[in-house]
């Protein structure tokens, strides 16, 4: 069985890579405005949009203008989404006559979807109207993904430019990400999903009679169109509460495979887009290699932990003690574990499995994937940004150790860059630890499991992942407001810092390539991986010991 699994994993990762390479090349072309095979249809549409919204594409924004545009755009989206939830009772496309969403939940949801987190404390079926789902949540799944991509492109572009204050035009990057990349992919994936049995309708909920003679209400809705983008845009907000474990969201093993692929694909293509943009493909490969290594490492560990089974179950007479609680029987254990890994490594958080039921060490991997900042592929755009920041820290140390002023991709790393890198890499850890400590004090649930749930919640919010380990109720004012703040913090600190550093990098000259440390070398990849792991391990070792590791030891000692 193990061999088949390993083969399947290898195949999956191979297919992922094979698709990611050309997609990355395509994305690079889109971002610089070169012609692609979709140009004949989309260029007029793009220009039409610019005309309607009055965008002057020739404006090269400095980082401050870029940041203000991005923040305003997100602020408007946030307010609109909040109002939509409050007004949904009076609006059409609401066959179930759902009322306004509770204020704290609505704030949380607005933040959650604008920040590409899709932390969902509510039950979709009884909370959100079709209109809210489509024009609120679904729309933000597109826009938040495009926002992240725009920020990443600005940062990448800064490494190509020199001696300029301009880092590009936010509206152009946003529009191109949307209509050339996200929309076409989403349409294609949605169509395949529908063909496999995913629903996409505006029907009222179906009332069915079960065999036991009880009534069952089966929720309906425009699901497929949103499921496609929730994966592609790594936001992960399920149309139904059960997310990708729901048969309407994930009807067949093929859709499971497709959804898994979609949630990784754009994030995995970003390093290749980067390589193409800086016109040095091997740079992209180096980043991709680091991400892939970390992903495979986590996946292997999670798989090992699940395959070991649960001694408590073995005692009950279950063969090998394999823990199948919370896993989707239709797909099997491998599909569940790989989904859990991929869903937390990327900042998607979509799940076909109940994370709360996983073995403690699998949960540890899921936590670690997020706690290091969601950089193993990560969210579209933001994951790549995070990895670049780790790259800067790695190059800072490398520079010192080879006796040169640190630089990355030919740009010097000076105190300003270090301040920002330290803020991006450390501040989220600091804030999530503080919030976990506050939550622990306020809520009190003194078990390793209780601790794991809480630290997981804030790690998930901070890295804009949105998955949860929580079995208990999370739709409380306390959680809604604290996670709301943490989500905003995690998202916009990263983005603003990325743009600030883009602004400074774009102004720098290039260091000549002589005696530069090769960033496209195995040694760099090794240092990059080490920096990610050491940073995560040193920050979270104590909580991991008290949470998942202790729980694991308890299970195995009884």
């Amino acid at each position: 069985m193990l061999q088949t699994w390993l083969f399947q994993i290898a195949m999956f990762l191979f297919i992922l890579t094979v698709i990611a390479i050309p997609l990355g090349e395509y994305m690079a072309k889109v971002f610089v405005g070169e012609r692609t095979f979709l140009s004949p249809i989309l260029v007029p549409f793009e220009n039409f949009l610019y005309k309607v919204f009055g965008v002057d594409i020739h404006v090269d924004m400095d980082w401050k203008t870029f940041t203000v545009s991005l923040l305003l755009f997100n602020l408007v989206g946030l307010i609109a989404l909040f109002l939509l939830q409050e007004a949904q009772g009076f609006l059409p496309l609401n066959p179930e006559k759902l009322k306004a969403v509770r204020w704290d939940t609505a704030i949380n949801v607005a933040i959650s979807f604008v920040t590409n987190t899709d932390w969902q404390p509510y039950k979709s079926e009884t909370t959100m109207s079709y209109l809210t789902q489509m024009f609120g949540l679904g729309l933000q799944n597109f826009l938040s993904a495009a926002t992240g991509m725009a920020a990443a492109v600005a940062l990448i572009n800064a490494f190509i430019r020199k001696s300029t204050v301009g880092i590009g035009n936010f509206w152009v990057y946003l529009t191109r990400s949307l209509i050339y990349i996200l929309l076409p992919l989403a349409i294609a994936v949605a169509l395949v999903l529908v063909s496999q049995g995913c629903i996409d309708n505006f029907h009222p909920y179906v009332h069915a009679q079960t065999l036991e003679g009880k009534e069952q209400i089966i929720a309906q809705g425009p699901a497929a169109s949103q499921i496609a983008i929730k994966h592609l845009g790594t936001s992960g907000g399920g149309f139904f509460t059960a997310n990708s474990a729901h048969p309407y969201e994930n009807p067949t093993p093929f859709t499971d495979y497709l959804e898994l692929l979609s949630l990784l694909i754009i994030a995995a293509a970003f390093p290749f887009a980067f390589g193409a943009l800086v016109n040095n493909r091997s740079q992209g490969w180096a980043i991709f290699a680091a991400m892939m290594f970390l992903f495979v490492m986590g996946l292997s560990f999670a798989l090992w932990s699940e395959l070991h089974g649960n001694p408590l179950l073995t005692k009950l007479g279950i063969h090998h003690g394999l823990n199948m609680e919370g896993k989707e029987e239709r797909f099997g254990m491998l599909a569940s574990v790989i989904f859990a890994s991929a869903g937390t490594a990327t900042s998607t958080g979509a799940m076909n499995v109940s994370l709360g039921s996983l073995m403690p060490l699998t949960g540890l991997i899921a936590f670690f994937n997020m706690a290091i900042g969601g950089v193993i592929f990560g969210g579209v755009g933001c994951g790549f940004i995070g990895m670049l920041f780790y790259g800067m820290l790695a190059m800072f140390l490398i520079g010192l150790m080879i006796g040169r002023t640190p630089e990355i991709y030919g740009k010097k790393l000076e105190p300003y860059e270090m301040i920002i890198t330290v803020v991006v890499l450390f501040l989220p850890c600091i804030v999530q630890l503080i919030f976990s400590a506050i939550a622990v004090t306020v809520l009190g649930n003194s078990s390793p499991r209780g601790l794991s749930e809480i630290i997981y919640t804030y790690a998930s919010s901070m890295s804009n992942n949105g998955s949860t380990l929580m079995v208990s109720e999370s739709n409380t004012i306390f959680y809604n407001l604290t996670t709301g703040f943490v989500m905003l913090f995690g998202r916009f600190v990263t983005i603003v810092c990325a743009l600030a550093i883009a602004g400074s990098v774009a102004q720098k000259k290039f260091n000549p390539p002589t005696a530069r440390f090769p960033t496209a070398s195995p040694l760099f990849v090794f240092v990059l991986i080490s920096v990610v792991l050491v940073n995560g391990a040193l920050t979270f070792f104590p909580v991991l010991v008290l949470g998942p590791i202790l729980e694991h030891l308890y299970i195995y000692s009884t």
């Binding site: 006796g403 270090m418 622990v440 601790l451 070792f541 308890y554």
Partner: protein, 684 residues
Amino acid sequence: MRTSMLWNTKFIFPAIRQAFIKLNPLKLWHNVVMFVVEIGAVITTIIAALSFFAKDQPFFIFGLQISLWLWFTVLFANFAESLAEGKGKAQAESLKQNRSEIYAQKIISDADDKDDKVELVPALMLKKGDVVIISDGMMIPSDGEIIEGIALVDESAITGESAPVVRESGGDKTGVTGGTKVLSGKIKVEIKANAGETFLDQMISMIESSKRQKTPNEIALEVFLFGLTVLFAVVTVTLAVFGAFMHVEIPITILVALLVCLIPTTIGGLLPAIGIAGMDRLLAHNVIALTGRAVEAAGDVNVVLLDKTGTITLGNRLATAFIVAPGVTEEELARFAMLSSLADDTPEGRSIVVLAKEKLQIRGRDIRSPVGAKFIEFRAETRMSGIDINEVQIRKGAADAIENFVKQRKIKFPEEVKKDVEKVAREGGTPLVVADQDMVYGVVYLKDVLKEGIRDRLLQLKNMGIASVMITGDNPLTAATIAVEAGVSDFIAKATPAMKMERIKKYQQDGYMVAMIGDGTNDAPALAQADLAVAMNAGTQAAREAANMVDLDSTPTKLLDIVEIGKQILITRGALTTFSIANDVAKYFAIIPALFISKCPILNVLNVMHLASPHSAIMSAVIFNAIVIPLLIPLALSGVKYRQASVTFLLRKNLLVYGLGGLLLPFIGIKLIDMGIVWLRIIG
């Protein structure tokens, strides 16, 4: 040798005293990491005191020892810094000492007066612009420039070089440094620096930690260390909260111990010492860095501009051969060449006379200029010099100038000579053609002679990834030949001061870090533009002011050492940072199980070192953390060895030694200390 110097008691005792003085929080707060340790030490000391009064005997003993080791941690760091300061200061102070006892003869009358009236003033009272007279056996009171006279100066006080040097007004050797001694001669010196602003003063401020200007890279590293400190502070505090949540009370003393072990105390404690020690090392090479930035730039230099004359070649071109024109004998050519050069006092001219004497086999005494001879001096317009003896007009000069000269007299310039001229130029020599009003006699071959060992040095630069550019006033052809011969990467021929500066700017625009070495006033603009500008101490004041380093020995090839020291400082910082962070892993494995083992005995599986008890585990980690600082002082002060190797090799080596070593060493160290604690029964 340096290490033994380091442990000299002359430096140790003052450093120990300084280590305590630096405990003053007002002095310590600029070093965030150590400041945090000190606060921790204060807290644990208070707690230990309280537990003493509460008659909690076992905890008092434990708490007291933890507090002591925390104080030691700070003291060790202070000691490292003081030791580095002490070494540099000792060198500088002895010079300063000399100076304060010097009196200078300051000229107080108008310059018009025939007899200068002088007044005896202490050297420290001299101001910029004052003019002093210095004669045999007197000390030079301050930095300045000779405006009149010539003197033999003993600069051994600052350079350690016992051979005296000549300094004279006009030209490129006008600079004198305070604290040096005039052996013979009488000079008028215009003082160029107020008291407190001389090179010496600048140098002293570079090695005094509190006054030292931090380099950008040092600031960047401090930012990183500050971030780590805050991060670990939060990790520690939240751990207390999580512990409380699991019903484990963690005593504050232990929390502080954990925090101090986690924050990067090793690099935080040694960071100032590393920077100061770098300055000390430069000083040991007789180089004074005027800004910290320059030292750092030195490690990054990728282009070096070198003057050909004096740096790559011996200085002056010397006549090495006579190439005769058809129908002329060598004796004839030699005689005419000699005659034309008799009055030529340039080194080239003298070398022609020397060579001619050799060829004609005549001794010095026999040369006398012919009666009635009239010397024609070299002029830029004619580019010839020579002698008129009655009707005979002998000229020597550049080929085209002589061609012009003979053409005016309707004489044909022989093709053969033209070819010889070209050949000489191609070979990098300078051809001088000798002629009179009737015929062309031939060519004098003037040749540049490379300095010994220059090829090797340039090759070493190349291996370090540094391109060398030769600056010369020669024509491109000559320049190219010498460039090839010396192995420089590029050259600037027919260089003017403006061209040098333009070239530096161009390199900088392409992102290169440019080093320039110069001595003359005409080098000053280029020096000011360069990232690393090294002025020769013997150079003019203008050059020294434009530079950011001064080489006291005036050896231009010293750049290599400067670059290495710059790199060494960075490598030492990087290595110790990596080491410091890698150490944390073992400390976690020592402390975390110790914290929770009473409540969750199951966590003993994490006690991989099998440390005896929770208290001894924490104690061992703290002690290891403290003593690693003094153990690394020699490394911090002498710097991690730099090898000219590929960057990948360097990184791999340093990662292996300081990364992997830093990971493994504390496991062994903490275990050994723990065994020692058990053996000595230090903790009850």
